[in-house]
Amino acid sequence: MDKLARSAEEAIRNIPDGATIAVGGFGLCGIPENLIAALRDRGTSGLTIVSNNCGVDDWGLGLLLANRQIKKMVSSYVGENKTFEQQFLNGELEVELVPQGTLAERLRAGGAGIPGFYTPAGVGTPVAEGKETRTFDDRAYLLERGIKTDYALVKAWKADTCGNLVYRRTSRNFNPLAAAAGKVTIAEAEEIVDIGALDPDEIHTPGIFVQHVVLGRHYEKRVERRTTRSPKGENE
């Protein structure tokens, strides 16, 4: 069961124009940078991207935006990006805003074969428009739908060649959910280890959810807001 692709280019080659893709990451943390760059280089267009954020102007999914490859974004927060605002105001870009917990759960549901679930988030707000509101035990909830995508691009810390993934710290975020929601999931990792090198109990995404694995060529891991304290313990 060898799922190793030789390069990010090879791994994303079959993604067609117009595909729907779930992409892991929160802000610029845990984003599949090599796969995004390969997709930018290939120029695949008309994409619908399901991802919590849309990168910044010159990094992450912002690269695909700048290159006009994205038709629609499904996100909870897209505020870090001028290109985004321009394309949205020009009518070039569609946006579906989803509460962050609902977005996470919709991806999980899609991956888990659950077509719909109820959540209180968004009741009585613009998010509720066009959705069924239903009362359980005297509280109101919205019906939200699971999301399955044609592809998923995720970023792991370590992967083995049969697709088992381990994430590091808060770079986990939406990655396991995207991995399960994608019909074809492509994972990039900072390190590829031998089968058997990962303990079965430490694996975050079992290989069954992953179709292709690739070693990331280079990681920039850009930081969006560098906040530090001085060694004396005072805040910057």
Binding site: G101, L103, N173, H204
Partner: protein
């Protein structure tokens, strides 16, 4: 005299009790994190997948894989755990977080909160705010009492699109503390240097005044 912000933050700190699991919103609420005494023994949850946020890292020790929901580099305390976003919102939606302290743009007398769409600006998104207001056991909103034009942000009805209906348990401003029960709002505390009259002038909402402050009377600009 203390600034408005520092009055709000000081008062908000009193909401934090020993052993609590707490989510602090982006912006002013994040400032509280650095003020919590270590001996209070609380755990801060970050909705991007961290329970046990520590202080900012020392210069040069930033870890790009370890950020908070405001996308700032942070550290993790001893006993911290990491998880995916669905698990994070399972904690939140499932009522496992004791307290969320969130910023606000408008709060209405029935407890409605608006804090995600800035008037006249491009909509950036609600992030996790709509999940938090329905999930955490207790929602405390902190905000300045009036906007830059001097207009009350404590209103009869929210004019901005809502984040949640009747979700606020307590509102802390630089002038006062209000509690919300059954769709009604009560002034329960005055901040240092504030007077009942000043609160009355700067509050559009109708509210009760708790007996401890002045006997129960119907207050509010009308």
């Amino acid at each position: 005299m203390k600034s408005s912000r520092s009055k709000i933050v000081s008062r908000a700190l009193e909401e934090i009790k020993s052993g609590m699991y707490i989510n602090l919103g982006i912006g002013m609420p994040t400032l509280i994190a650095n003020e919590i005494p270590a001996e209070r023994g609380v755990m801060l949850q970050s909705e991007n997948g961290l329970l046990g946020i520590g202080p900012y890292p020392e210069d040069g020790l930033e870890d790009a894989d370890l950020i908070n929901a405001g996308k700032e580099t942070v550290t993790a305390v001893s006993g911290a755990s990491c998880f995916d976003s669905a698990e994070s919102f399972a904690m939140i939606r499932g009522g496992h977080v004791d307290l969320a302290i969130l910023g606000g743009m408008e709060v209405a007398e029935n407890g409605d909160l608006a804090n995600w769409m800035i008037p006249g600006k491009m909509v950036k998104g609600m992030g996790g705010a709509m999940d938090l207001v329905h999930g955490a056991k207790r929602i405390v909103v902190i905000m300045e009492h009036v906007n830059k034009q001097g207009e009350s942000k404590v209103k009869r009805f929210c004019e901005l699109p809502l984040t949640g209906q009747r979700v606020v348990h307590r509102l802390i401003t630089e002038l006062a503390v209000f509690d919300f029960h059954g769709g009604e709002m009560t002034l329960v505390e005055l901040q240092p240097d504030a007077t009942l009259e000043e609160v009355r002038e700067k509050t559009e909402a109708y509210y009760q005044v708790s007996t401890g402050l002045l006997g129960t009377e119907k207050e509010g600009r009308s």
